[in-house]
Structures are given as C-alpha cells and as structure tokens.
Symmetry: C2
Subunit: 149 residues, 2 copies
C-alpha cells in the first residue's frame, strides 16, 4: 500500500543474522487469557530456533510449553529513525531429551543468574519475518503499522 | 521464589515515568489467531494511556481495535546487565471522538512518515507493571522468567 515507506522486507537468513547480534529479545505469549510479553536473553540454534534458559518451575515455562509463541528482537536508533525488527513465530517446548539438554548446556544460552533447576525452551522458527527501516525521513513504528495496511 | 534475584518491582508512576523516556515500544496482539508483536513509536497520555498513530486502513488497526493488548517498552544495557521493562495491558480502541482526535493531533504522537488518513489508537492503562534490573551479577531475562516461578 505504501511502496516507498522506507521499509525493506528481510529474508530469513538476513533476519537470523541480525537476531544473532543482540543478546535480549522479547517472548510474546498468553497468560491468563491476556497477551503477555517478557524480555529474555536468548541464543539462536544452528537451525534458527530460539533458545531460552529458565527455571523449570517458572511461570514462563508453564505458559509457553506446547504453545505457539512469537519472539521479537530489534535494534532501533530513534535519532536516525533507522534499525531493524525480526519476529520468529512457532511452537515453544521444553527440551526434554537428555542428550539435547546436555548439548545445550554446552552451547546454549547462559543464565545471568542460575536457578536451582534450569530447563531450555526451544522455539521452532516456523515463520521468520523482519523489516529493515532505512532511516532518513522514513519512519519507524507508525509506518511499520501503515505498511500492513 | 527468588527473593534476591536482582529485580525490583516498579510502582505504576515509576513505570510511566520510565516509559515516557523512550520513543518506541512494542504492541502485542493476536493476528490470525497467532501471537504478534510490532515495534511502534508512541506517546503517553496524561493518564498513562498509550497513544499510537497509524494509518486508518492498517492491519494493526483492524487487529487491535476493541481488543485487549499489551504494550511493552524497555531499556536494557546488556553489558551492565541492568535496565528496566514496563508493560501496559488494557483494551485498545481507535479514537473516534472528533474533539479528542483534534486534541491528539496537537499533543499526540507524530507519524515519522504520514499516511493518507491517520487515526489514533489509545490503549487504556488498566494494568501497568514493570521491573528494574539492578545489574551487577544479577541477571536479565532468564531471571525475569525465574522470578515468575
């Protein structure tokens, strides 16, 4: 609808390359039938899956295990009105396979403060979408929305 | 569950004071029955409502008008493992009152790139929650999750 709105759609590999640059994203899920969002540090697996590490007994695990979630990361320079935003959407599940848990204990995200019993949550990258905001007089945010029209 | 996890719950006024410092947040909603999240620039109204400005014909408007949404803003320094995160949850609605639209045209958020026909979306601040991450060896993200346990 707004072909010159300053946005560039990003390909899957470009999205994952950008996401890998930032340490923190935001998991979007449903809690008590309400939309919920929680910042969380993460790491990308080789196949683009989003990996989180959290307490086994956490509310987050109860809320997202087996559910489809979105995971968003961005890097925006408001002064330049430029940056990017990537969203991975797919089912989330606690990693239960012992070998996989052991692998992620070596290569997965590290808890900034350890919990007594930790699990890894894996978000399958079924849908990976992203946009680059090219800056200048082009916008941010509002145009993200306008672009959808 | 983790009383010394480095988090400090923020009061409503503190949340709104922090949110007012950043130009961009993320609206969390449901699109085609899937969780969706979109960065967007915003402004806070005097009562703490989140104000967005977008194209009347946008997909965002169709998705959120009349729905309960979450709006998240944060500012995290990963190197210091410190920062804050605030979430406003409440019903979103397009502002239809002409006088209110006129007021927001003067005082509301400014589109970084104008759309042909713009509307304001107002998110009622029914629930305002936030946390400050105090830094040091305390964590981020993973502990946000652990804190929920």
């Amino acid at each position: 609808m707004y072909p010159n709105d300053g946005f560039r759609e990003l390909g899957r590999q470009e999205c994952l390359r950008l996401m890998a640059k930032v340490p923190v994203g935001r998991i979007v899920f449903t809690r008590l039938a309400l939309p919920a969002v929680l910042p969380v540090n993460f790491r990308l697996d080789a196949d683009g899956a989003v990996l989180l590490r959290t307490a086994a007994a956490s509310e987050l695990v109860r809320a997202v295990d087996g559910a489809v979630v979105a995971f968003e990361a961005d890097d925006v320079d408001a002064a330049r009105q430029a940056g990017w935003s990537v969203v991975v959407t797919g089912p989330a599940a606690v990693v239960t396979d012992p070998a996989e848990h052991a692998r992620l204990s070596r290569t997965g995200p590290v808890a900034w403060v350890p919990a007594p019993r930790e699990v890894f949550v894996r978000i399958e990258p079924e849908l990976v979408t992203g946009r680059e905001l090219v800056g200048g007089r082009t916008l941010y945010g509002v145009n993200l929305a306008a672009k959808d029209g």
